[in-house]
Assembly symmetry: C2
Homo-oligomer: 532 residues x 2
Amino acid sequence: MYTAMALERRLKGDPNVQVTLVSKENYLVFQPMLPEVISGSIGILDTIAPIRRLCPKTNLTTRTVENIDLKNRTVTVSSGFRPRPYHLEYDHLVIALGNVTSFACQSGLEEHALPFKYLGDALVLRNHIIHALEEADIEDDAQFRQALLTFVVAGGGFSGVEAVAEINDFVRSAARSFRKLQVSDIRVILLHAGPLILPELPESLARFAQERLQRRGIEVRLNTRLAGATADYALLSNGERIPAKTVVATVPSAANPMVAALPCKKERGRIVVTDTLEVPDYPGVWALGDCAAVPDVTTGQSCPPTAQHAIRQGRRCGENIVAALRGEPAKPFVFKALGKMGALGHHSAVAEILGVKLSGYLAWVVWRGIYLMKLPGFDRKIRVASDWILDLLLKPDIVQLKTGAATGVGREHFEADEVIFNQGNRGDRLYIIVDGEVEMVREEPGRGQVVLARLGAGECFGEMALVNDAPRMAQARSHTAVNVLTVDRAAFGALFANLPPLRGLFQQLIEQRQRAGTAAAAPAAGPVDPAP
Amino acid sequence: MYTAMALERRLKGDPNVQVTLVSKENYLVFQPMLPEVISGSIGILDTIAPIRRLCPKTNLTTRTVENIDLKNRTVTVSSGFRPRPYHLEYDHLVIALGNVTSFACQSGLEEHALPFKYLGDALVLRNHIIHALEEADIEDDAQFRQALLTFVVAGGGFSGVEAVAEINDFVRSAARSFRKLQVSDIRVILLHAGPLILPELPESLARFAQERLQRRGIEVRLNTRLAGATADYALLSNGERIPAKTVVATVPSAANPMVAALPCKKERGRIVVTDTLEVPDYPGVWALGDCAAVPDVTTGQSCPPTAQHAIRQGRRCGENIVAALRGEPAKPFVFKALGKMGALGHHSAVAEILGVKLSGYLAWVVWRGIYLMKLPGFDRKIRVASDWILDLLLKPDIVQLKTGAATGVGREHFEADEVIFNQGNRGDRLYIIVDGEVEMVREEPGRGQVVLARLGAGECFGEMALVNDAPRMAQARSHTAVNVLTVDRAAFGALFANLPPLRGLFQQLIEQRQRAGTAAAAPAAGPVDPAP
């Protein structure tokens, strides 16, 4: 967007140049203010800037990039209302695809940890937190209530710290509106892999931040990573399990698959560019931001992946493209970082600006002042300023805005020896095993637990309660760590009712299992040995 | 909620009485302001009131009611994070379940018309409208662009009129931020079954409103109902088809299935109650609002289903329950409607208050004043007032906030002789026929269109492009009106990859079809006769 803005400014409406911007969303998220969306102190739409308003002369294509063909100089984008691909041709191409969140290789995080990067994530997280408080308020089981009231955030960098600070402020203040919740029961835990949070900052500031968070009741667990998650707990690198229904992971980011697929030279997943932001060997192709390895003349290394660098790279790229169109020489990207800031919630922050260290209230005022100035668009500045004023006067919002229905088909992860569902539970979904082993166990009067079956990859379970609309006939327990696919009641019912071959398949399966179940339950057969 | 508030006020913290409120959401939507959420002139969360703040002494259970057992005096609610039902016992039960939206018996409305009743509906509608504008801006096909720019609203009562007025204001103002859209290309159409909109109002006011809407460019189609919809057009009662990608239906409302299942006496789907709001033959059971037929002493009929009646019934019910607890006599519900108001957008409204007729700007000022006063909660009043002030100064928001991903399994409706997908299209979903017939047609060089197969209920199509990740090999066309279930690419891929019996099923099917396709394409076989 900043490249398009620079192009508009320099081209001054030149009719021979068409600028097209492809973006998945029709807005830009102003990341520094995203944590405030969790607590609702900023309105949901106020932290994002509509691209059309900021680049009025640019053709905005609100679609997802699906393919970049550097040889034929075309970009393919996703289809809209009609299932037709859409191709764009270019003379100059700017690749600014950023990173993507990726939980690859960490078991259960994809399924059970909440990411925190996009606006949608902030909304989902906010609703999840309120949902957990709602459920805790009516939960009789003390252990389960504690898991509902435990919030784990992984990653002690800027985004993790800002997220945990906002979550902590929000849950402690929101809990007061719930009749049966004790603020003292709330646990907010920050996991950090190193010995001190905020490693990007000077030690004195990082220590200030860490103490400030601890004083507000956040448990900071140092030298500890998040190793995995299930629906019921966070699994730490030291093997400890923290029962928690809310696990937030801000750490993981991986190269965009579109970038990974490009034939050009890369350095640790980032596109190698010259100091003028050009991609060598591909004339007319430029790259910048988190997806590019831009040489930093001040350090001799690549630029760090920060917004202040990316924004200035974007502008420089626009200027260099105009220079190229006019046959003028390109200028190198030169920029020295101005500083670093992190909000700690509750009118406190830490900042290092042009070498000056600030902390506490003053840093918070500077934080708000600088970011309000940087927020693109005059109307957003007004809206955010008015939000901040109202937030001083009014209590935080505890409305749970449910976004969309369940997805029909989902994924879940279980570690070994966990209960997937209990005998007598309501049958709310079908499970299909992707990998791992699951045991079906039934409590038989006078005979204790009988293992009815052990199932593996490609087998499914839980269909009986759905087909017969009855409670679960047996307990399902993970024998090893298990990844499953789930199909919810509504989706299963629709498919089962309308696709006879599928119905046949499941009816056959159920008959088989009922025969096997009867055999296992018959006294003559004796209890099945649970060992293989 | 108003009953709970009245109970709290009268009981003054009596420790012997527990009040529990079961609500699907933890907030109350203030309906009159909902249309303004479409245009964004009110913040998304500002038109809703958090129940916990308004009833601090009530136990709020944020779950869905699943069963009411009047005999055993228990209410069963849905499960939360765990698949366990939750039972509540009562001494007094207040049934205030309202109506539900229902598109039953109108073909295609369930699948393709957008309802407008809940907060979620307003958000979905807002995003759909912005999505349509985004797509229109990059669409080359003039006919398809026109369908994207056509907005049909069905129902000329208060909610339809307020919705169409807000949609019209919003799209015309938002379109100016899009580079290639002409405001003159936009069509906003209101369908109304009677000869004049707003039949609840005196004729002079209704005529004023109708002319005002028309002057703003809304086409008002009188004596016309919405008979159905597909993904591509609105089907009118006179058989006309209006190509439109946005069809909003505000009309349909049906008895809540929970209410329908109750054994007590009903009158046109509503629970019969005495003038003290008690359900005859069921002591301790009360009913009110849209789901109850409350005698109206001023007209001799049942009370109309309006908020002003429901709110006062709620309060009276709370007072009568306290009277019953104290052995005092119950008082009858007596209320004469104060008047009616409808906003027409753009600083205009119509109102009839205590017999006085108002229209235009003055009515709009009265509208805003009265509803701001009635909006529950002081902080909401402040927020909405500040939204309204900002709205006078700033341009409307055009940010498209995508809520949740696609649902995996969905439903679609096609009328006879429609193209479901074209040869060469991208394979984005599997179709399962619920009812109706579909023809698969392939264009053969030199032989024209060859019908490969005719499929009926329980059969599926479109699997080949998904399994082989290739473009559609043939066109799918509805032979009769068809209802289908769709499974999207991601859900199909996950199920297909992990459930071997399903994979076997589809591979078998594809082999059969490929054999049949080759046979149909062989010159010796000749073209298949498309007639039965």
